[in-house]
Symmetry: C2
Subunit: 151 residues, 2 copies
């Protein structure tokens, strides 16, 4: 077997991705948990709701890449904490519109800058073009994995 087609875990892309993702999320997650008592999923919901007035859970699953059960649980917890409110959807009785409460909004206003500082800290030492490149490559990879999964 030629050397360059040998399997070496440390150079195996899905492995590298997984390690990179786990390390960064673990670090970031600890901080949200410690400072705000938010899980990663709760935080994602807040992040998306913070940038949009009112959304259905369906729209949330689409823009957070979480599945509907995960969204449902995160939303329930946030409602219990008074950070999110649910309003009946007038034209579709199955779904409801979700929005941040004033309390939720103020958590968002606090969390968002922290999140951005985290990102900046992670990317300290990366050039802007490298960051663009990384994001671009990741998006292409996601798209590719999505396509492949459809078989």
């Amino acid at each position: 077997m030629p050397a360059d087609v040998t399997l070496r875990l440390e150079a195996y892309l899905p492995y590298r991705l997984s390690v990179a993702s786990n390390r960064t999320s673990r670090w970031v997650a600890r901080s949200y948990e410690a400072r705000f008592g938010l899980s990663i999923w709760q935080w994602r919901v807040i992040a998306v709701l913070g940038g949009a007035d009112r959304l259905t859970a369906q729209a949330l699953t689409a823009s957070t890449a979480m599945d509907k059960v995960t969204v449902s649980r995160a939303v329930r917890a946030l409602i219990e904490r008074g950070l999110v409110e649910r309003k009946k959807h007038q034209s579709d009785g199955r779904s409801a519109l979700l929005a941040l409460t004033p309390a939720g909004r103020s958590v968002y206003d606090e969390v968002a800058p922290v999140a951005l500082r985290h990102e900046a800290a992670l990317l300290d030492g990366f050039r802007p073009d490298e960051i663009r490149q990384l994001t671009d490559l990741l998006l292409r990879l996601e798209k590719r994995a999505e396509e492949l999964a459809e078989d």
Copy 2:
């Protein structure tokens, strides 16, 4: 708040990483599970043992980036399936040396090419320099996250 320091989840790096990693591992994991009955962790252990004669569990945790509990469980399952064997370590009574059995070796010989084909399929459409760049950026990011986590 200026537009370019606004939090947008879809451009948030830890999020992108998480989505990219989850999609690729999910795809890859399904295949290992379906074709070989191996979890991702079992597969990692096999991959590393396939490239090294005999290792301690400790060495496995280091080179798989899994924690020791995860390694312990994966190894146990592999031993139960007869793919890995444990030999007493002569000089250190706490640990044992792990190695693939002949059956384990033949699973490795089957799985490794499949893994490489998966990777190639994912990276179809990427130029070699892009792949190098991606790996490099991921490694730097991992290192950075590791440093940051140490506080």
